[in-house]
């Protein structure tokens, strides 16, 4: 199968019009020795019916989360996605469009991103948000690099809280291999003490990776007292309930916004969101949409502050990012418009209440104790008190079609409860845990 519109006889006409005898004459500049003298060895060439059957059989080799009762999170959550969201994403004017470099033909994308930026600013308590990053991990790494630039490269060390997502810490380490920054991982308790005159910023989770809501306000204050910046990596769903990082003094707020209307999709594409104070706006990576007027005085939107970006500034750009996750941002914007502030509060509260109920019921089995004493939202970590490895119970529960959470080590499990989990599912899970132990 192919998706060509041009018929074989038209191809011949076109070659005639070009003035060549055959296709090979057009590629005369490719040395003979590197021309492929065989067909590529790849399968395929299926018609659409065969293709659909084949792909469905591949999909059915997975046990998916409509077949599992999932309590897994770790930055990727099984929230409900209202039907209308995907119907919006499937509008070809959105998903088949390019980056809105020609604003006269792209007001739909531009306005949708502007509205998304507005929602992110409101949730985070910041003044400016960009049009999206790849995911929470890369947003955090870019934020760290941005704080080094903000110090005019005078401060190059990043203090990262040990309780950040381990994969985010790994990505930070990779981005630090360039030598543009050094990353030191410090326990949350020791962060304030560790800040010195070379600290560009501190990075903290809110809630942290294992769900704990730490006292980030005081460490932000310490950072500022010592001339360093504070980056908060927040689950934006929880920002419906928590004090906004902006109100606590954060300079940059980033994180993963898959939770807003995007499927889990085996971990990608997610949605990195990135917000900052207006003071730092010109140092930000990525595209930003701004409002302006056209020659007739009519309101409109454009990509703005482009002189930060790679296509203009090349090696002096604030980042190399070009493609971002615009369609995921469209989903998040549409989700937030649909559920609104009132709906988001209700969803977040429902998640938190269900999580607290499950936590206390699991505790009442006598098999677990809390992994920490802090408050938590809809994700929490429990330490298993039994003798063998927790993995055994985990595997038993998977066989019974539960995804029991995420194992952090031999004895600790991270459990998330979204609004999708019913009371019956929670009861069944607790019962299954009792039996498995």
């Amino acid at each position: 199968m192919d998706y060509l519109s041009i018929q074989p006889e038209q191809r011949t006409l076109m070659l005639d019009a070009i003035g060549v005898a055959d296709f090979d004459e057009l590629i005369g500049e490719i040395p003979e020795s590197i021309r492929l003298d065989r067909e590529l060895e790849i399968g395929g060439g299926l018609d659409e019916l065969e293709l659909s059957r084949f792909m469905r059989s591949l999909a059915s080799k997975n046990i998916n989360c409509t077949q599992l009762i999932s309590f897994a999170g770790a930055g990727c959550y099984d929230h409900y996605i209202p039907s209308c969201i995907d119907h919006i994403l499937r509008k070809p004017e959105f998903f088949t469009a390019y980056t809105p470099y020609q604003p006269e033909f792209s007001q739909g994308t531009l306005q949708a991103i502007f509205e998304y930026q507005t929602s992110i600013c409101i949730l985070t308590g910041m003044q400016v948000a960009n049009a999206s990053m790849y995911d929470g991990a890369t947003a955090l790494a870019e934020a760290a690099l941005m704080t080094v630039r903000a110090s005019r490269n005078k401060r190059t060390e990043i203090l990262a809280s040990q309780t950040l997502h381990p994969q985010y810490l790994e990505v930070l380490d990779t981005y630090a291999l360039s030598g543009l920054m050094q990353v030191r991982v410090v326990s949350f308790e020791d962060l304030a003490e560790a800040i010195d005159e070379n600290t560009a910023s501190i990075l903290v989770g809110y809630p942290n990776f294992i769900g704990a809501i730490e006292n980030i306000a005081s460490v932000i204050t310490s950072a500022h007292e010592k001339g360093s910046l504070a980056v908060v990596c927040a689950n934006p769903m929880m920002l419906a309930l928590l004090d906004s990082p902006g109100s606590l003094g954060a300079d940059i707020v980033v994180g993963e916004a898959q939770c807003f209307g995007n499927p889990q999709s085996f971990g990608g594409p997610g949605l990195g969101y990135f917000a900052a104070t207006d003071k730092l706006m010109r140092l930000m990576p990525g595209r930003i949409v701004g409002r302006t007027t056209d020659v007739d005085g009519k309101d409109g939107f454009v990509l703005t502050l482009s002189t930060r970006e790679q296509h203009i500034r090349r090696e002096k750009a604030t980042s190399n990012i070009c493609s971002n996750h615009a369609l995921n941002a469209l989903a998040a914007g549409a989700y937030l418009r649909y559920v609104g502030g009132d709906g988001l509060l209700e969803i977040a509260l429902t998640c938190v209440q269900k999580a607290h109920r499950l936590s206390s019921e699991l505790m009442s089995t006598g098999l677990f104790e809390p992994a920490y004493e802090d408050e938590y939202g809809y994700e929490f970590a429990l330490t298993y008190l039994g003798e063998h490895k927790l993995e055994k119970i985990y595997n038993t529960l998977v066989e019974q079609r539960f995804l029991p959470g995420v194992l952090i080590d031999d004895k600790t499990i991270l459990i998330a409860v979204t609004e999708k989990r019913t009371e019956e599912e929670i009861d069944a899970f607790v019962k299954a845990v009792r039996h498995a132990a």
């Binding site: 930055g75 085996f266 207006d278 409109g300």
Partner: protein, 441 residues
């Protein structure tokens, strides 16, 4: 706090109104050079939404995601075969992210040999992401000018090469749409000083089944699945930027990759021995990978080759149809795109390429990439892709010819274009000065 929620009807109407202000590949021809705006097949959209793919959680046990791992394993192999390399990581989220990954892999190889080296050479025709990536990897950029053929001048390159050079980044075909005919000598010269050759795969659509970057002597390549492999651009993303490398560099790729157990044929995540580490959370933009894999299975070897051939033929067709009205900069056989200049119109009528691009909007076409590559004055970079019908190509030629005539007869209609779009030219200067990036009142 966020405003109150809206009814479903209000939300659908709002986004319908916004959609009506937008233009996508379904709306009309999108001849953006180096962006490969080909048709986005609908079966891809359906397949990536199957519950068996879309609802998977990334921490599920490997035994419950064998279908997903098989898909990733086969896509790794297919991309390596298509590009002539030995190993593939699917983790990078976009083209620039792939460039970054490849350059960090190269950096790791140098470090393993005892010296990270200092500079990366790129041609002056390179995409802006190339120099920006070099900086992000902690290297200095050295730019090499193109010669009168629009290609890399081998003797000039040799004069720049020394043991400070970590890598040479080259797009082939380059952004002028021309194949670098000296490519074997180029990669040989780069290797002679112990540096690596990175191929920017933005223009891979021209090469499918015809020739392979691995066979040209490149050491690493990134692939834009959202260009060559038909996944949608989404108004700016998400894309995916897998990286393919030689055997020598495979040990440094970011993990995890997918491997297959030779005995029981099951699939598992594996991390290369000297991996640079993760460049992103989880395994890559899986939803995009499903679309690209679906596309490759649809086309197969012959469909891919046919697509590349047609992309090249359609570009050459436009080049020869437009060469009388416009200054085609290197008027010889091109690959999947070509660059022409609006210099004649500018000189004779004071009409700029920007004006002609805006006028194209009135005729219902998305403009080409303009003012790029930077080495061409008043550049228009045109890539029709293989999926456009001949009738549409002819209509585009007609529109361009009418615009060339308007430049002579009525330049004002071009200066003030567009006239028939939802908004007209926007004041970008004020947008930068009086910055409103959120509605916070």
């Amino acid at each position: 706090m966020l405003p109150r929620g809206r009814s479903e009807l209000e939300v659908m109407r709002h986004y319908q109104e916004l959609a009506d202000l937008n233009f996508g590949v379904d709306s009309g021809m999108y001849p953006l050079g180096s962006c490969t705006m080909k048709y986005n097949p609908r079966i891809n959209e359906d397949m990536c939404r199957l519950d068996g793919f879309a609802t998977l959680h990334p921490t599920q046990p490997e035994s419950t995601v064998q279908g997903a791992l098989q898909l990733m394993f086969e896509l790794q192999s297919d991309l390596a075969e298509i590009s002539g390399f030995e190993a593939t990581t699917l983790q990078p989220a976009a083209g620039a992210h792939g460039e970054y990954t490849a350059l960090m892999v190269i950096r790791a190889a140098h470090v393993a040999h005892g010296d990270a080296r200092k500079v990366v050479i790129i041609p002056d025709t390179a995409h802006g992401t190339n120099p920006a990536t070099v900086t992000l990897c902690g290297y200095q950029v050295i730019s090499i000018p193109s010669d009168e053929r629009g290609l890399v001048e081998l003797s000039e390159l040799k004069a720049m090469l020394n043991e400070d050079v970590a890598a040479f980044m080259l797009t082939n075909p380059n952004t002028l749409g021309l194949f670098e005919t000296d490519i074997l000598k180029i990669t040989e010269a780069v290797h002679a000083v112990g540096a690596y050759c990175f191929c920017d795969g933005a223009n891979l659509n021209a090469l499918l089944g015809i020739t392979r970057p691995g066979d040209m002597g490149f050491d690493a390549l990134h692939i834009n699945l959202h260009k060559t492999f038909s996944t949608p651009h989404g108004g700016g993303g998400p894309g995916a930027g897998p990286v393919c490398v030689t055997d020598e560099l495979a040990e440094f790729l970011p993990g995890p990759l997918v491997g297959q157990d030779p005995e029981d044929r099951t699939y598992h995540f594996i991390t290369p021995q000297n991996s640079i580490g993760r460049v992103k959370s989880w395994y890559g933009n899986f939803g995009v990978l499903v679309r690209a894999y679906t596309y490759i299975r649809a086309l197969g070897a012959s469909g891919l080759r046919l697509s590349a051939e047609q992309a090249v033929i359609s570009a050459n067709y436009l080049r020869t149809q437009l060469r009388d009205e416009f200054n085609v900069v290197h008027d010889r056989a091109c690959m999947h795109e070509f660059v022409m200049s609006g210099s004649r119109q500018k000189k004779e009528s004071g009409v700029r390429t920007l004006d002609m691009a805006k006028r194209l909007l009135d005729y219902g076409f998305h403009p080409p990439t303009i003012y790029f590559p930077l080495v061409v004055e008043e550049a228009m970079m045109i890539e029709p892709t293989e999926t456009e019908p001949l009738e549409t190509l002819d209509a585009f030629v007609d529109a361009m010819k009418r615009i060339a005539q308007e430049a002579i007869d009525d330049p004002e209609i071009l200066h003030s274009a567009p006239h028939d779009t939802p908004v007209r030219r926007l004041d970008e200067a004020t947008a930068c000065r009086n910055i409103i990036v959120a509605d916070l009142d």
